[in-house]
Symmetry: none
DNA sequence: CGGCCCGTGGCAGGAAGCTGCCACTTGCGC
DNA sequence: GCGCAAGTGGCAGCTTCCTGCCACGGGCCG
């Protein structure tokens, strides 16, 4: 377990670790303040793209802070586009945490003091402990798209009726009769609803609707 | 930072820390397996009571596992009764974590291997990092009473996999292949899931699952 | 060993859901 | 009137999903 001061020293002493990702890259932080310089960030994105191509899982956990500035949003969309899993967490994450292959962990001190401190460790017990916590936070967080979709799909009164019928577990036939439309039309409506919820199956649509609180 | 093996050694080398709690005692774990012997547990409860009387904040975070056996339930109610804050977290916490006054941290290895390993550290950066994660999980968790009030279906790890496949909008065929079971078995599982969610249709099950936050 | 329970998987037949096609109505503007 | 667009409903054929039935392969117990 070592301590370093400043990004420069971190890069010097642990930078090589970023090039040797084997299977998993995990990162949790408030925002993108660490790799503040655009070219650094671009380099990171590029390397990440290469890793993803090799089958590495990349998970990034940020708070809404990361979405406030345009650069941050852009970066997140970018990494999400190349296949990284991005989630947004409601609680603050002042200590940026990076875990590589569950073998090395980098823990940053909060907020960029002039020379930010970093703790680098490879202790399995520490890493596993932190990872299980990270996993717990991860589970409790929203995927980027879900977070952004919050209250996005516009659902009108008619669609809401369909939604409610579906949520009650009615068969299409029953629901159609209740709504006073033909089976064909009802199903058309359901299909439209699935489309507006961007879902491939009724279950998925239900899940989305439930997450978004549309069923209550 | 030191490593110890077995509860006995932990008590010998770090036991004194439990007596010197100044302001905060934080504990997160799957269940009560650590202090498995009843008299130990009673002693812990007693000391905790004393601490609480002195104005110490005690926060305990457990998973539903801790509530499965009668002894665990009892212990949790007991500590909650004397003023400890108890919350229940949906994600597993295999590495028991104890933090005292944000100055000392004990990280346990998972599951009682014969001689369970413990990592004890007083590194501020590590502790603060872990604490911010713990706080994040804490925030996302339900207080014990809230948790108990909500009657949610018990979903095990296998069912959760099914749930996730469904929530992704996969067809049964794809999902079955991914989970490595036959189509028949997969559908059996889905049917079981619908039953445990008391749903008549997949949409309804999705909606329930979404509402209960089971899809993340 | 035989008998039993349980979980699994294949199969088949049926139910439910999906959608393209077309015909019909309604409403609007020319 | 005609033409056009949009919404509806019936039909058909397809896919997906549901489930009862039976066979097979462990474990477990007497």
């Amino acid at each position: 377990m070592i301590r370093v001061r400043g990004e420069a020293e971190l890069v010097a002493r642990a930078g090589h670790l970023f090039g040797t990702v084997g299977s998993e890259f995990l990162c949790a932080a408030n925002d993108m303040s660490t790799w503040s310089r655009p070219n650094d960030r671009a380099a990171v994105a590029q390397r990440m793209g290469a890793s993803l191509a090799e089958g590495v899982t990349v998970r990034k956990l940020y708070t809404p802070t990361a979405l406030t500035d345009e650069a941050g949003r852009h970066h997140l969309f970018e990494v999400a586009a190349v296949g990284a899993l991005v989630r947004v967490c409601a609680s603050p994450l002042p200590h940026e945490t990076i875990v590589i292959d569950r073998r090395v962990m980098i823990l940053a001190d909060p907020v960029p003091t002039r020379d930010r401190g970093f703790t680098v460790t490879s202790s399995p017990s520490l890493i596993e402990g932190v990872c299980s916590l990270l996993d717990a936070v991860w589970q409790a967080s929203d995927p980027l798209d879900v977070y952004l979709r919050r209250d996005r799909p516009r659902i009108d009164a008619d669609q809401r009726k369909i939604l409610r019928a579906l949520a009650e577990g009615l068969t299409d036939e029953t629901a159609a009769r209740r709504l006073g439309v033909s089976l064909r039309t009802y199903r058309r409506r359901v299909a439209e609803l699935l489309a507006s919820l961007e879902s491939a199956s009724r279950f998925q649509a239900g899940a989305r609707a439930g997450e978004l609180g549309l069923t209550r």
